[in-house]
């Protein structure tokens, strides 16, 4: 059920021109592995996946060449005409370039389809030159419909404008090769469609506009290049070009639409209360400039709220934005001021799920001086207060060891952990205490201690405890990051909800021994003796501390268990899931794909059984007790299959309109929430608890391919109406189902 990133576009890059002759190009070409080999005439070798673009920090300061001096000195101009020669030459150069570009387009236009690739190179080359200036960009815009129709995108991944995906744009633009310029041309084409200058047969003005808005919202770092990272020496012509493009797009499109998107995106992300908030913080950081532009008041307010939440939310912190100064002012402050601080901190966290570094300073201060304020500062419920009062000493030690401005986000987890009453399970108290002094394995220590933590004297135990507190407080805030390890994230999340003892044991084992063992059908599997894993042994480190410790082990163990079931002729998850996750998983299991043929067989029965076991109207009232790990098809906004994914059904309940919805946990922090066909998982507004997504029951079923069930608790499958089955089948067949054979 690993998420297969098969949406990675296969892109090519021009390396060799095809002039025949000397070397045996024809024969070399033949050996290239790609199936669409003829394209290699102009393109050679595959490209990196787009996703890598997300991870690259490309925030060079925009150094725009001040080509056109705004204030030409008239006197000098009169005396020395040569002095302004620069400006005139540049202007002529651009116009020469435009001429060359247009003539290259003519050649491309006239070429027959099979020969287009020979003429694309020159167009890309000249477009690269033009994209170097604003005038040039404008010329590209003016020619957008012309180059699209001439065949600039012919036979490449950008050919069909209706199949483009906003999340892939940023990654392409940040690549060095020819693809970044093709991507730029594609954006210009969309802008031309969005503005109504170009009537496109496959894409409406509205579609183009919303595509571009999404692209802008997803690439705030290009729209608002941060000012701080100028230190990077590496020349980033392609980054500058991308930033120039975004300036252009930003100026052409209404900022309001984007502002809503950005704020919406930040809200959507925060409402899920993830443990890792770095990306949200950088979005806020970058969007804060927008507050100065002419944007919608509501969006502006919201942005200000978020910005304050991660900086200085309280009166005192706003007044003394230096953290040392702030702490000394706390010492002088009277009771009333401190109460106010506690209250405002809590409110800010409650509203945003984001914690300010000052909040950590405040908590550390009251931990020593005013522990009575703790319930207010942590925004505790009644359960939380009782839990706190029963474990004051442990909480004090946890705060001392692990709550620092650099780990401030764990404060939210701490409060929620207390509210969940985790500490009422007595065996957990020594299990947590054990982590405070655990002898951490040097390798694990290394991966936990980022330079930022080392510099501030935070120990690996401190990081580990902060991470544990976060996971216990926000079980649905666990994310897989950029790793294909949805299984492992789902396991951590499940244990954080229902298997706290097992989770803490695994954390201790992983952190101390750098090993975890599990038993599969009587056979003990040690992670330290395994190689590889779903992620190929390479775990991207942008993870919460607990995931950092556990995922490398869990991933290998899961993979090993799956290997042991390979030849059973049935989906191995049937046996692996109950052993891997634990006894919370029911033994009944159904996958709608026939493992021998790969066909979709007996889809109707699949739907009926799911309704009979899960839908309250058909399952004789048996409630879902523990989360159910299910497999779903991820589809893009057009309903096309992108890959397989693992989520957990958390609960099934009626929403305010009396419609049954499936509430689920999605370990993938994927921002594209539109699955096509009007299926858009919501994260708020339909009764979701924090961290949950939800869909109407039948919509969820239409994307599902495997689930567990309790064979002793089910209703009658024949009671499920044919019309329901037919509707779901229709949705499935016209989306992911198109990639399968149905029998």
């Amino acid at each position: 059920m690993t998420f297969i990133y098969n949406r990675w576009k296969r892109l090519y890059h021009l390396l060799f021109s095809n002039d025949g002759g000397e070397t045996s190009t024809a024969i070399a070409e033949k050996s290239l592995p790609d199936t669409d080999a003829p394209q290699e005439q102009a393109y050679a070798s595959n490209m990196e996946p787009h996703l890598s673009g997300n991870t690259v920090e490309m925030n060079e300061e925009l150094e725009r060449s001040e080509v056109e001096n705004e204030s030409p000195n008239l006197e000098i101009h009169d005396i020395l005409p040569l002095a302004t020669g620069g400006k005139e030459t540049m202007a002529t150069e651009t116009s020469t370039l435009i001429e060359k570009f247009e003539s290259a387009l003519d050649s491309l236009q006239q070429a027959k389809p099979f020969a287009k690739s020979m003429y694309q190179t020159n167009v890309f080359q000249l477009a690269t030159e033009l994209a170097g200036t604003e005038d040039g960009l404008h010329a590209l815009y003016e020619n957008a419909s012309k180059y699209d129709e001439a065949g600039v995108f012919y036979a490449g991944p950008w050919e069909d404008a209706s199949k483009l995906q906003p999340p892939l744009v940023g990654g392409s633009l940040k690549l060095k090769g020819v693809n970044s310029i093709i991507e730029l041309l594609s954006e210009m084409r969309l802008l031309s469609i969005a503005k109504g200058d170009y009537q496109h047969s496959k894409l409406s003005q509205e579609e183009a506009r919303s595509f571009l808005n999404e692209v802008l919202a997803l690439n705030l770092d290009l729209l608002f290049p941060p000012e701080t990272e100028a230190a990077r020496v590496e020349s980033g012509e392609h980054i500058e070009r991308a930033e120039r493009l975004f300036q252009y797009l930003g100026a052409e499109l209404s900022f309001n639409a984007i502002a809503d998107k950005i704020v919406g995106e930040i809200e959507r992300l925060t409402v899920q209360r993830p443990i890792m908030v770095d990306r949200i913080k950088s979005m806020i950081e970058m969007a804060k400039n927008m507050v100065k532009s002419d944007i919608d008041e509501k969006s502006k307010e919201s942005l200000i709220k978020f910005e304050k939440a991660i900086t200085s939310p309280t009166p005192l912190s706003a007044e003394f934005p230096d953290i040392r100064q702030y702490q000394s002012k706390l010492k002088e402050a009277d009771e009333e001021v401190l109460e106010k601080e506690a209250e405002v901190f809590s409110k800010s966290v409650q509203a945003t799920g984001l914690v300010s570094p000052f909040h950590a300073t405040f908590i550390r201060f009251i931990n020593r001086a005013k522990p009575d304020l703790m319930p207010a500062a942590l925004d505790l419920s009644e359960t939380g207060i009782a839990s706190y009062n029963a474990n004051k000493e442990l909480i004090r030690d946890i705060i001392l060891l692990s709550i620092y401005p650099q780990t401030c986000q764990a404060i939210y987890g701490l409060g929620r952990m207390l509210d969940r009453g985790v500490l009422t399970q007595e065996p957990l108290i020594p299990a947590i205490r054990r982590l405070l002094e655990l002898d951490i394995h040097p390798q694990v220590r290394n991966s936990l201690l980022k330079p930022l933590y080392r510099k501030n004297g935070i120990t690996a135990n401190g990081i580990l405890v902060a991470g544990t507190v976060s996971v216990l407080g926000q079980p649905l805030g666990v994310g897989q990051g950029l790793n294909p390890t949805c299984q492992s994230a789902r396991a951590i999340s499940l244990w954080a909800q229902h298997g706290n003892g097992q989770l803490l044991e695994n954390i201790a084992r992983g952190a101390r021994d750098n090993d975890i063992d599990m038993t599969f059908e009587g056979e003990v599997i040690h992670s330290s003796q395994l190689e590889g894993g779903v992620a190929g042994g390479e775990i991207h480190q942008d993870l919460d501390p607990v995931s950092k410790v556990l995922v490398p082990h869990l991933d290998k163990i899961y993979n090993e268990m799956m290997k042991k079931t390979l030849l059973r002729g049935e989906d191995g998850h049937k046996w692996v899931n109950p052993e891997f996750y634990g006894e919370w998983i029911p033994r009944g299991f159904l996958n709608l794909i026939d493992p021998i043929t790969g066909y979709v067989s007996e889809f109707d029965a699949f739907v009926r059984l799911f309704y009979a076991t899960h839908h309250p109207d058909y399952n004789e009232g048996y409630e879902l007790i523990y989360p159910n790990p299910v497999g779903i098809y991820i589809t893009n906004v057009h309903g096309n299959l992108l890959g397989l994914h693992a989520v957990s059904i958390q609960r099934i309940a009626e929403d305010a309109n009396g419609e049954y919805r499936i509430y689920f946990y999605n370990p993938n922090n994927d921002s594209s929430q539109n699955w096509g066909q009007g299926i858009e998982p919501s994260v708020t507004g339909n009764g979701e608890l924090e961290g949950e997504c939800s869909l109407p029951f039948h919509q969820f079923v239409s994307r599902m391919y495997a689930f567990h069930y309790n064979p002793y608790e089910q209703g009658d499958t024949y009671m499920v109406e044919d019309s329901i089955v037919a509707e779901i089948k229709g949705i499935a067949q016209t989306s992911w189902g198109e990639a399968y054979t149905w029998i």
Binding site: H13, G20, T23, P38, A115, E129
Partner: protein, 409 residues
């Protein structure tokens, strides 16, 4: 001309997959079929290009099969695009014309040992050469060569060249000065051809032959072998055109070449003495065909196709080819760029190049794989810069200047 085109129903077969060649024949409105590696089948089908999948690399006794396939399609002539397809074209054309000798003639062009021997017998000046089967042969040849040059102990050796018998251009070429260089040779490089080093300016000719007669002779001046060249040659070299033409005709006669294009390479000494290097009968490298089109305005691919076809009439050819040298609109040059670094970080195309009036275009991008492939012979270049202007000396100095430039950092 129009009439014959309309009536034409027999196919011309292009051997090897090359888009420029396909485009050229398509524009001639001549019916054609492309014979190429099977991987191109899908593309050909999608674009309505008549295609026969064939693996030229595999040596086999099945040329008759290819002939039968092509004959069934009513093919009359085969045009080789790549070095490896030259003997295939020979075999096919031998069948089409029922003249087995055509095949044997094509073999002369595919075995550099045979080629040199044939040239020598025809009274064409060549260097001293021998085939080598082991490293011992190379040691002995180097030693005997330098003895003949009356070298004493301690004198620097004159180098010799070794190259594969049947590879295009500079592929597998080695310059050998002493025993150490020989040690570097691998066993798979044998047998090979050894030859003495020839001094003088190297250049190539592209002669379009029809019915054994040179219809058009282009001279390509090499500025730096494997890196840069331009068309037409400078006046200093063009001055020798009558001599060169004579030599090329001698080659055509002795090799009994009737139709198509040949691409011989010569060295010319200051006194006009011409030494023959080697000759190929396919599309030359170094973007020479593109340069011909830029300078003279006709498609060299079309010229090759027309000249390969015995049915093309004298009038058609006269109408097709412009006058040599005088009709050129200017000098067209190309510089092939090889990265000088192992890892490519970025592209560095200087403004003064882009604003130079001779600069036309370049096709360099940062490759996706930043690691630079190891070079074989002169290797595959990573990009080409095209120039055009009306002064051959300016052209030469530009090509020299930018050959040293680091475009990839």
């Amino acid at each position: 001309m129009d009439k014959s085109e309309i009536q034409e129903t027999k196919l011309t077969a292009l051997l090897g997959w090359s888009l420029p060649a396909i485009e050229a024949i398509d524009k001639l409105n001549k019916p054609y079929v492309v014979v190429g590696p099977p991987d191109f089948q899908e593309f050909a089908d999608k674009n309505g290009i008549q295609f026969v999948a064939w693996d030229f690399e595999q040596l086999n006794e099945r040329s008759i099969e290819l002939y039968e396939k092509l004959a069934a399609l009513n093919t009359k002539v085969a045009v080789p695009i790549y070095e490896e397809t030259v003997e295939w074209a020979g075999a096919l054309n031998a069948h089409f014309n029922n003249d087995p000798r055509i095949f044997n003639r094509s073999l002369l062009l595919r075995d550099k040992g045979l080629m040199k021997r044939k040239a020598q017998m025809a009274g064409i000046r060549v260097g001293v050469f021998e085939e080598a089967y082991t490293k011992d042969d190379v040691y002995r040849f180097l030693k005997r060569m330098n003895e003949a040059l009356i070298k004493m102990d301690g004198d620097v050796n004159d180098p010799i060249h070794v190259k594969p018998l049947n590879k295009a251009g500079t592929v597998g070429h080695r310059l050998i000065r002493d025993a150490q260089d020989i040690d570097l040779m691998g066993d798979t490089e044998f047998p090979c051809l050894m030859e003495s080093h020839l001094d003088g300016q190297e250049f190539s000719c592209e002669a379009f032959i029809h019915n054994g007669k040179i219809q058009f002779l282009n001279i390509t001046e090499y500025v730096q072998l494997g890196h840069s060249n331009f068309i037409p040659a400078s006046p200093a070299l063009e001055e020798w055109r009558p001599r060169i033409r004579e030599e090329v005709q001698k080659l055509v006669d002795s090799f009994e070449i009737k139709y198509g294009v040949i691409h011989p390479e010569y060295f010319i000494a200051a006194d006009g003495t011409l030494n023959f290097g080697e000759v190929a009968a396919r599309v030359p490298g170094g973007h020479i065909f593109e340069l011909i089109e830029r300078a003279y305005g006709f498609s060299a691919f079309q010229a090759q196709i027309l000249c390969s076809d015995p049915d093309t009439t004298e009038e058609e050819l006269q109408a097709f080819f412009p006058e040599e040298v005088t009709s050129a609109r200017g000098y067209a040059g190309s510089l092939m760029v090889y990265p000088k670094v192992k890892l490519i970080e970025r592209l560095n195309v200087p403004e003064e190049l882009k604003t130079n009036p001779y600069f036309e275009k370049h096709d360099m991008f940062i490759p996706v794989t930043s690691k630079v492939a190891e070079r074989v012979g002169f290797g595959n270049h990573y990009g080409t810069i095209f120039f055009f202007g009306d002064d051959s000396e300016k052209m030469r100095s530009l090509l020299k200047q930018y050959e040293k430039y680091d475009f990839y950092l």
